[in-house]
């Protein structure tokens, strides 16, 4: 076993390096990803190591980045695109949803689109507008895209490589508030397949589930609840599309209660989908309705209000209490 300790940003960097070493067709594209190493330094050193032919510091155009990645993929490359912040993905939205997502279907299988789009997302960093949002539902709603989000350095290291190996387009959402905390990475053994839901902490009375940075909040909530004598099971969704239902249903069969948490607004969201599906498939196991704890259905507010907007452990526990009260 070979364990290294590193932050999530470095784990993605290591995963990208490994993928680039393993397959000469893998290339990186994005704004400021060359000498600067990206604004979060995720691609630091890769341009020097692999050259500007494999790390493309592109012109400032997201539609251009995604659209040309599509052409490169048609030519046999495996582009990994970096979007600088989630709020700047929309100039590329047409290329992602109308083109990238549908090309395999339109070619009736004659073509695959092995493109990864890395998107730093989420709040908790006190930043200005467009730098703290969680737009994953837009992409999960689009057939043809796979959507994942690691929450730990270990998952980040493995999931980025699995995403690059996928022959389908993968939206890879990186919880930017988790870029810096360090964690253990087992660089020899891949723990789980890309689309698996993981049990982050075992418990017996209530299941809580989330993805990305929310997993940290859920673990905090579970700690607090444990002190108060309540046993919470924490699930890390990891894959938003497809969703690995069995571990979720198994947990609900055990606890009978489910709280779904996310930073994104709740309306027509990942949380909505989980609530609906669990209700359909585990109705007789449920002791209470599935409850959602989400960002409000408003624009992400100015940073001074982010702590009010973003669900914290208290808000999760408020829902846990409601679930237990049924």
């Amino acid at each position: 076993m070979s364990i290294e300790t590193m932050p999530l940003s470095k784990a993605i960097n290591a995963g990208l390096r490994k993928a680039m070493q393993d397959d000469p067709k893998v290339l990186l594209m994005g704004e400021d990803i060359g000498p600067l190493g990206g604004v979060f330094r995720v691609t630091e050193g890769l341009s020097a190591e692999f050259g500007t032919g494999r790390v493309l510091d592109t012109p400032l155009a997201e539609s251009g980045i995604i659209g040309t990645a599509i052409g490169l993929a048609m030519r046999g490359y495996r582009p990994v695109c970096e979007i600088q912040f989630e709020g700047f993905i929309y100039p590329g939205f047409d290329q992602i949803t109308s083109q990238l997502a549908k090309l395999t279907f339109r070619h009736e299988g004659a073509l695959s689109m092995p493109i990864v789009i890395r998107v730093p997302y989420g709040g908790h960093i006190g930043a200005v507008e467009h730098h703290q949002e969680s737009p994953e539902a837009y992409f999960a709603h689009t057939a043809g895209l796979r959507v994942v989000s690691p929450s730990t350095p270990n998952d980040a290291y493995w999931m980025i490589q699995e995403s690059i190996a996928s022959n389908d387009p993968v939206m890879f959402f990186e919880p930017k508030s988790r870029y810096w905390p360090r964690g253990e990475v087992d660089v020899e053994r891949n723990p789980l397949p890309l689309h698996a839901t993981a049990v982050a902490r075992e418990g017996s009375e209530v299941t809580v589930i989330g993805h990305g940075a929310m997993v940290t909040t859920l673990l905090q909530a579970a700690d607090i609840a444990a002190e108060e004598g309540t046993s919470i099971e924490v699930l890390d969704l990891r894959s938003i599309s497809p969703i690995d239902w069995e571990p979720i249903l198994a947990s609900v069969r055990k606890t009978g209660r489910l709280v779904v948490a996310q930073e994104a607004p709740g309306f027509v969201s990942v949380a909505s989908e989980i609530a609906a599906t669990v209700t359909e498939r585990a109705f007789y196991s449920l002791e209470s309705p599935v409850l959602r704890v989400t960002g409000f259905d408003t624009p992400f507010p100015p940073a001074k209000l982010e702590s009010v907007y973003l669900p914290d452990a208290d808000r999760v526990l408020e829902a846990v209490d409601r679930a237990l009260a049924y």
């Binding site: 012109p59 100039p91 507008e129 100015p302």
Partner: protein, 371 residues
């Protein structure tokens, strides 16, 4: 490092007037300026630089999430802002602090955005038509073009009356020229023949990406393919910025069709306070531009016109006062109430917003008065 034979320069880096054939058609606009106006140009440049440095300090001390310095770009901004007329509309990107100030925006309102208490900061209708900042690169070029289309449909431009015809100015950067939105704005502007000035501040960098990545040819050539004339100026020459903008604005406002100015300038500071420019640019390049500083050369020019030490000393004092006042009022900025999250999401009542506002109020109340 990027001046071309076509670059219009009216004031040399050494601070003396340049006599050139290319500049001749703009000289009359300079000749019309009074001493007081020239001093006002300088005053605005010096004051905003002091403000900018204070804002940078405030950011370093944790008073703002981010600061976007305009250091080095003062002349491009001051000249073009003074070239506008009161009725004009201005769509900035996010670095146009002195333009906002000249149009009556309190620069502390810009700080409020970077401090995380607002996504806007001011009402354009109450601030001489200075629209709010746009952080999504290039988007505002389309808004400006649409605005100018509306102005034209209303008959509020193109009548020939310089004091009434409205021109619309949009500011954007060299990086922005790569965005599809900017090309589309040029297409719409040309197609509808708007009364509009595209003002490009080529500060040579889009964060860490050099302008050569965006275009292998000078960017003032870009609009000609769209049917819009482009001109390149020394953007660190406040006189060129003023005169060339003034001429193009007055020509477009009366119906001469859209115009495009590429102002060659330089981002002397970091892209933002989060950036580390030592990773991607050389000291030699920074030094090249330091020698072409917009403020130093204009001071030399004003001295040659008779401005004395007393004038500059007084100005330095005023700048220091503005900086001190900025610091004081920044520290006094209060965060908005929770309620702010739900206000103005829609302009008319919306049940989901009402429900969630109510939920939050009750939730907060559940913690009791000491929460």
């Amino acid at each position: 490092m990027s001046y071309t034979a076509a670059t219009i320069q009216l004031l040399s880096p050494e601070g003396s007037l340049v006599d050139s054939d290319a500049g001749a058609e703009y000289r009359q606009y300079i000749d019309e300026l009074t001493d007081d106006q020239l001093r006002e140009f300088h005053r605005q440049m010096v004051v905003i630089r002091a403000f900018d440095m204070e804002a940078t300090n405030l950011q370093r001390q944790g008073q703002m999430a981010l600061w976007v310095p305009s250091l080095g770009q003062e002349a491009a901004q001051v000249g073009s802002a003074f070239a506008t007329r009161p009725q004009d509309h201005i769509f900035p990107a996010y670095r146009e602090h002195v333009i906002a100030r000249i149009r009556g925006v309190d620069p502390v309102d810009i700080i409020r955005m970077m401090r995380g208490v607002t996504h806007g900061g001011w009402n354009p209708a109450e601030h001489n038509n200075l629209h709010i900042y746009t952080l999504v690169i290039g988007s505002q070029t389309l808004h400006a073009t649409g605005y100018a289309m509306g102005v034209k449909f209303d008959g509020a431009s193109g009548t020939g009356d310089l004091d009434k015809d409205i021109a619309t100015v949009v500011y954007f950067g060299d990086g922005a020229t790569s965005q599809g939105d900017v090309s589309e704005a040029l297409i719409f502007a040309a197609s509808y023949q708007t009364s509009q000035l595209f003002f490009l501040q080529n500060n040579h960098w889009a964060i860490s990406v050099p302008v050569t990545r965006q275009s292998p040819v000078p960017l003032y050539l870009r609009p000609s393919g769209f049917g819009i004339p482009g001109v390149q100026i020394d953007g660190n020459d406040v006189l060129a910025s003023y005169a060339v903008s003034r001429k193009n604005l007055d020509e477009t406002r009366v119906g001469g069709g859209p115009r495009f100015i590429e102002a060659l300038t330089y981002r002397m500071g970091a892209h933002t306070s989060s950036d580390d420019p030592t990773k991607y640019r050389t000291n030699a390049e920074v030094q090249f531009w330091q020698e072409r500083d917009p403020i130093a050369r204009f001071e030399t020019y004003l001295r040659s016109l008779g401005a004395d030490d007393a004038f500059f000393a007084e100005l330095a004092e005023e700048a220091a006062d503005v900086a001190a006042d900025t610091r004081k009022r920044t520290l006094e900025v209060v965060p908005p109430p929770n309620e702010f999250i739900f206000q103005n999401v829609y302009s008319e009542p919306h049940p989901r917003i009402d429900e969630q506002r109510e939920w939050l109020a009750q939730y907060e109340a559940s913690f009791g008065s000491d929460a």
